[in-house]
């Protein structure tokens, strides 16, 4: 059996890739994907803890995260489309209008 430590490291690495992606990429769709990667790293961690602890609550929580993430992406993509119609771009550098 694979020890729990390896799962913790794997999900930490996935989460960090997601965080770095959000911070460094400029394309809004890639940023969405990176946020999804962060949430899925959490899901992996929850499921592996749940399995190791012999406790089903972690897996139930994962279902909540999945449902909420789907709702969030639905709203987010709608906002992105609204944005694209006005600016004809999905680059987040155009978001600097409000600064100052």
């Amino acid at each position: 059996m694979i020890p729990i430590d390896n799962y913790i490291w794997l999900s930490t690495v996935l989460f960090s890739i997601g965080v770095l992606g959000v911070l460094y990429r400029r394309n809004a769709i890639i940023i969405f994907a990176c946020i999804e990667l962060m949430l899925n790293a959490v899901n992996l961690l929850m499921v592996s803890f749940s399995n190791t602890l012999n406790d089903s609550r972690g897996q139930v929580f994962v279902f909540f995260i999945m449902a909420v993430a789907a709702a969030e992406v639905a709203v987010g993509l709608a906002i992105l489309v609204m944005m694209y119609r006005k600016t004809k771009s999905v680059d987040i550098d155009i978001l600097n209008r409000l600064k100052g």
Binding site: I4, M38, T52, K86, R97, L98
Partner: protein
């Protein structure tokens, strides 16, 4: 608890009203429902209990904060009736507002990480839509997009923290987590002694996630932009209701759930507090738009709340409650005036407030009282809020931090006086103030004065 049912019920009613063409009834039902829900909170005052198998817990603190949220939402709904009226999307906007309030009550009364997460998401997803509800305006779209990106990013941190804490304690329940001192799983790298290290990493990640939500510096970059870009009524909603909910969730997590580690967390909270007070107050000085200035002032108020919270943990709930009540009353009053000025002149820069004392005495007096209260000048509510925060910090021996907070609040006086000085000078054009707004202004002025002169009426916890 019954209040939460009522709020969800009205949210669903507002959605159905679209189908059954009952649109013109929505605003009456909404106001009535908010008042009824606040009354139900008072009725529940003596029955402190757990709900849904210990998933939610309404104690005095949770009841008081939900009551505050409902009362503030009542006045907010009254204030923003123009925002809802005469719009084809009145049903959608109203129902989203009520889902925000439902999420806020869940964030106040959770006793399980799942409810905290669901509460935050119900509140946030509705707000992403509301922030972008002015579809013609690019700023509004931009605000909603920025809020969405930062909000879901913060949720990721919060969830990773929850997952790590779950791994260390084997539970999502606040009570179980706070009483846990023995590790529930062991392996070669984690060790078999004591709490595993990733528990503390989880605690820190949760602090980062919640610091985003309460907009404490350095996690505040989204806040001024979103408050400035969103439609004015929605900004005031985010500055009052959402701030109350986020801060009470912050208190519950770090003073109830992780109370064992309060001495360590205290230093982090004080670090956040110093940064928040200095950065937000200095940045607010440079603003020319009153709305954006109040956005920065909203960020800076988090610093004072953190000062109270970091000095005395769970015992600070009463002080934080009073401070938030005073701050919300003043912010609602200020935003009522901004809404009136904005609807007449198009924007809310300081110049638009020129000569208001001569042309519209009532509006100008209301703005003056709101700004005096935010600046903390006696006998208004804001003064007493700051006084309570400072005495709490001093009685716990934080002299240097209190002196810093007093200095930054003096900086605050400078920028709050800018619109005030503009109002006394020059000639302004006469603004149209509707009868409903006039009554609202009078009532909010009375509330601000009463809370300052008789502070005991809101010091319930």
């Amino acid at each position: 608890m019954n209040a939460l049912y009522v709020i969800c019920g009205i949210g669903i009613f507002a959605l159905l009203a679209e189908i059954f063409s009952l649109k013109k009834w929505i605003s009456y039902v909404a106001l009535l429902g908010l008042a009824a829900a606040a009354a139900l909170i008072i009725a529940d005052w003596r029955s402190i209990s757990y709900y849904f198998h210990g998933m939610m817990y309404f104690d005095r603190v949770a009841l008081a904060f939900s009551g505050l949220i409902l009362v503030v939402s009542f006045f907010w709904y009254w204030m923003s009736s123009d925002f809802f009226k005469g719009d084809e999307h009145v049903a959608d906007k109203s129902s989203l507002t009520f889902f925000v309030v439902a999420g806020a009550i869940m964030m106040v009364a959770f006793n399980n990480m799942a409810i905290l997460f669901l509460g935050i998401e119900i509140l946030s997803i509705s707000l992403y839509v509301l922030a972008g509800s002015n579809k013609q305006n690019l700023f509004s779209t931009e605000a909603s997009f920025k809020y969405f990106l930062m909000g879901s990013f913060a949720t990721g941190f919060l969830l990773f923290g929850i997952a790590l804490v779950y791994g260390a304690t084997g539970s999502f329940n606040i009570t179980v987590i706070s009483n846990n001192t023995t590790p529930v799983l062991s392996s070669a790298a984690i060790g078999t002694q004591g709490i595993p290290r990733f528990y503390f990493i989880g605690m820190l990640l949760m602090m980062v996630g919640l610091a985003f939500k309460i907009s404490a510096v350095p996690f505040h970059q989204w806040a001024p932009d979103v408050y400035d870009g969103a439609p004015t009524p929605i900004s005031s909603f985010m500055l009052t209701v959402v701030k109350i909910a986020a801060f009470s969730a912050f208190i519950k997590i770090f003073a109830v759930c992780f109370y064992r580690y309060q001495p360590t967390l205290q230093m982090l909270e004080q670090g956040l507090m110093v940064l928040t007070l200095v950065v937000a107050n200095v940045a607010a000085v440079a603003q020319t738009s009153v709305k954006r200035m109040l956005a920065f002032s909203g960020v800076s108020q988090v610093g004072y709340l953190l000062l109270a919270f970091s000095s005395d943990g769970a015992k600070s709930a009463g002080v934080v409650f009073y401070y938030l009540a005073a701050y919300s009353a003043a912010t609602l009053l200020a935003f009522t005036v901004i809404k009136i000025v904005e609807s007449a002149t198009g924007d809310s820069s300081v110049d638009k407030f020129r000569g208001l004392f001569k042309s519209n005495p009532l509006v100008a007096v209301a703005m003056a009282i709101a700004l005096f209260s935010l600046a903390g000048i006696p006998p208004l509510a804001g003064f007493f809020g700051k006084y309570l925060v400072f005495t709490l910090a001093l009685s716990n021996g934080f002299l240097v931090l209190t002196v810093l907070a007093v200095i930054t609040s003096l900086v605050g006086v400078y920028y709050y006086f800018k619109p005030l000085i503009a109002m006394t000078q020059g000639e302004g054009k006469i603004l149209l103030v509707s009868v409903s707004d006039r009554y609202l202004l009078l009532i909010l002025i009375a509330i601000n004065l009463l809370m300052g002169i008789f502070p005991d009426i809101v010091r319930v916890i």
